[in-house]
Symmetry: D2
Subunit: 342 residues, 4 copies
């Protein structure tokens, strides 16, 4: 049994990790920390876990994380970078669900995240945990930077087109929308039900923290710096990310076949038949990414539709997938739940 | 492997059966019928099942249900009563998720359901499939009448109080509310999103088909005819039933202990600690019923709050639980998914 | 033109007052205060008011409320009781949308609201602003205690039955549900969209602050202390209150006629025809209360269904109605908007 | 008083017309037709109109529409084209809320709408009722083609940019999303609450009927055929359209000023300050279009965010605005309701 520690378990990615790991045959959560709620039973805060999780939250100082085989950081940005080095040195593998190790350019990271990086040396070692792109590197990684939710959907959707060089990499547009759980479980006026329900709006249109992460990823695929416009929106619903991606065609190709071939062996990417429009609910509570490809009016624009559950493939599920890869397990272990729909 | 047939798989209880049975280690769906959609791939109609269910819907005439060990009817009312006798005679066990065999008084059934019963003799043999009440009878049953969604929540909530004889059985009030999936997957104006979202209303206040079913069950527990007022409401959400039950106390008791003892060995009933209010989402996509007990102002009324997922414990999950009991399996098999929350 | 001041305008009742008063022909908001947001333009905080409200929030100390003809307190509980005496002494009429003056028994108020009352003498003078019950007293009032949202719906629904003495006043049950705007515009985890959407739960089942207010009102109607069980629920939607009321019939009557007669001249109470079930959306954004009466199975229980918009008839609209009455205007002025449905 | 007839009043645009016209000082609905519901009281079908609308639906044959000054067609596509000629000939002015007269190229219309046009000659006479573009022509029009919902938002959002010639007209992208009321009030599985709530998806990505309407409008502004990619999405909410528009900058300009100047005198277009993101709820139930302009990362793409209420500025409200213009009234008459938010 892999001994798992979770740091910062009171947010949505933390509770989702617990939900998934409950059904994992080869991993067991042995400790879960919380600065503010130490002593509280996990199942008291999250009644959905009653009868399934018997742990109490423990103070970070009491957690003894070094006895774990792997530690997940489900913390706000800026926490993992302070603790990862010690754990890695102690032989504990680390998967950070926050953004601390996602951006290779430390100065760029510091600009977007508004703080000084505490472990710039570790950034170079960290492996960006998008298995469809980086599976081999993940296998041996000591430290995995789990991708953001939007970056997962947008990168998977553009990947086959950019790798094949069939669209103009300087004019990419990613219009994306997320359920409110993407904003996390912190008290804020703007994500109150009475504010965000029955309404829709863009946010961060002039610049969102996921922009440099996506740009870095797409630029890596393209072998050159891409030009990306990324506009996120807040959906009046709980879970799900939908990305609508627009690329200007520069070379003719069978786009459908391109996607089918690129993802043929991927356990969690489903390329839908031509003409379909994936719904976010079709992946709800699962680690799947479903993708459909359109070419409106046979024109010069290709439109890719990609959906994920932001808390699963966009966070906790991908983290478990990464753990499975790092420990040589079946990549699907603990992630075979069927999407919950309706 | 238990060979399972599903009749009428294009509704929500059908697709939920498929979702649950995908993860069942000892049962396999071998055929699924649809009158209107024969020839269509199940996964084309329900994209959430892509990659998990490879069956096509078959016409009822082509289904060869007699090769199955068990057949679930996920049909409108009035279908199972026509086919159950033949299947039972052929040694196939039958679980009807519709109402055909729920009411022992055939005349009463005919009044509420507006049709003549096609198999009145079978009604007497049918076992009402509420395991918490009828587990032993279910074990040997050839034909199980799977309870309705409201009846499951209301009966489980009243059960310990009525069995213990501590409330007035002539003045029971059940105020309940259901998500819109309870109305089924048929095109109707009243359950359109634009009609039912961001709104709330009662319906059937003067009489709802689940009233005689609940009354029959509670009367059985009480050993005498109960007086019940039942008002259902339509919630602006997808899944979940919440029942708020009011009983007039006739004998002092430790109500909390009463519930904890009655359900101590039940795998799917969770009696919450005093003071809690179960949320429907805390059981979403699971077979659980969570219950809390209140006694407002230490007065003479006991209030029971009970929640279930209408599609799981209120339909498909309970049907699988019944199948597990009938075939001597672990009652939890295929039903150990953790509730999906948020 | 009536000069209106609003104290505490950054919550939902404040913005709703502004929305309604924009269209009022004989009243004008001249000042609006906020402790935290002084200097902010109202329309910057509430974009729905862009182009319609040109005021900035002012600090309470700078508001010069004494120049107003009437001041609305749209504040948390405990503010109006500190300022009302001075305003009333200065000849300004006061309408408090919070709970400070709703409960005549000061000790009881202090118990439920957990603070000492700052103006117990004023409590006796305050008029409870439910026009359907107290219209004459409101006309001359210097200080009106605007009813709570649940109390409005529950009292209007029980009123004809209790006044006529046809139900048992010792066994009243009020099962009610509110949209999330009823919890106000403050950052809290429990009313985040990701927490409260697609879910339903009771709260305060053992005791809610609106219980003593409702009990006081119903007891006044009955001429004796009533016995009331009140269970509120949180709906996954923005606006609307639905009350389902249960009374045990003690004397035969034509219940439908009772309601129609009692409310025949009320501009904002709509008694629906027999058999109907009012939807909350049918009163959305309006000052209406719609009511339907059922007698299930011709038994001994009468069920009343009552809906209001919690922010209008349950708060700001009723406050404007009270102002209209106090100033001798047409009671409908500013309140003739048609409900917004769908 | 302008005598108004409404043909086909049982859908959402019909009921919204009635809601708005209830508060119109100079117009009165004298008749409203329905093929299927003749004889039914309008207020029985739409309880939100109880006490405000006393009409019954009448059969089309009995409606005597020629006595009206203006007739609104709130019908499915293909009805107005059969009746408009007779009404116009009789001196009745016609406003068609359906698509029959929106596309000048009759062959193109027939291709997209899949039927033969019954009145091709009238198409040439019809005025496209987007007041911000066509106000003068609308004044004298006998027949107005009221724009579609998406076309209203998309055209208003692109208008200043295209008129000023500052973006590449061959590479326009319009990513838009609509609440479910946009799909109309007809029973369909895909817009059931249980299907469309808590989910999000694109539809018609390969081609949607509003594409040729938008293209025609934008091409008119540009003076040349534009290249447009338009992808609509279905939002899990009732009302509102949000358009996110992407244009490639070809000439530097002060984009904010461009919009402010172009719409300076428009009563229903609100250009928000830089940095804002309009929410659909900020225009709910109103005739407003709110627009914000972004230039992400100071790059070569301009992003316009535009929101309307699909049933008001996207349908019934714009139709009333057109009527006001046609009859020389204040353009705001009947349309001064403040948006309902939250």
């Amino acid at each position: 049994m892999i001994k798992v520690g979770v740091v910062g378990g009171t947010g949505y990615t933390g509770v989702e990790l617990l939900r998934l790991l409950c059904c994992h045959a080869e991993a067991e959560v042995v400790t879960i920390t919380s600065r503010g709620d130490a002593g509280t039973a996990v199942a008291d805060m999250f009644p959905s876990l009653r009868g399934r999780v018997d742990l109490d939250f423990v103070a970070p100082a009491d957690a003894d994380l070094e006895r774990c085989d792997v530690v997940f950081f489900a913390t706000p940005n800026g926490i993992a970078m302070q603790q990862a080095a010690g754990l890695v040195a102690a032989g504990v593998r680390v998967i950070d669900l926050a953004a601390d190790f996602r951006i290779r350019d430390v100065a760029l990271w510091e600009k977007w995240y508004g703080m000084q990086h505490a472990a710039p040396d570790l950034v170079a070692e960290a492996v960006y945990g998008l298995p469809e792109l980086n599976r081999e590197a993940i296998r041996g990684a000591r430290l995995v930077a789990n991708p953001g939710c939007y970056p997962t959907a947008v990168q998977l959707g553009f990947l086959p087109l950019i790798e094949a060089g069939v669209i103009d990499p300087s004019a990419l547009i990613a219009d994306a929308a997320s359920g409110a759980s993407g904003a996390g479980r912190k008290a804020e006026v703007r994500t109150l039900l009475a504010e965000a329900s029955d309404s829709f709006q863009a946010y961060g249109a002039s610049g969102h923290r996921h922009l440099p992460e996506i740009s870095q990823g797409l630029s890596g695929m393209a072998g050159a710096r891409v030009g990306l416009t990324f506009v996120p929106h807040l959906l009046p619903m709980v879970r799900g990310i939908h990305a609508t991606l627009y690329g200007r065609i520069t070379r003719e190709a069978d786009f459908q076949a391109l996607f089918e071939q690129r993802f043929a062996d991927e356990p969690f990417v489903d390329v839908m038949p031509p003409g379909r429009h994936p719904e976010t609910r079709s992946v709800r509570a699962s680690n799947l990414c479903r993708i459909a490809i359109h070419r409106p009016q046979d024109g010069d624009v290709v439109v890719v539709l990609a959906v994920i559950d932001n808390l699963v493939k966009g966070a906790a599920g991908q983290a478990v997938q990464n753990m499975n890869i790092m420990f040589g397990l079946d990549e699907r272990e603990g992630l075979d739940g069927v999407p919950v729909s309706p």
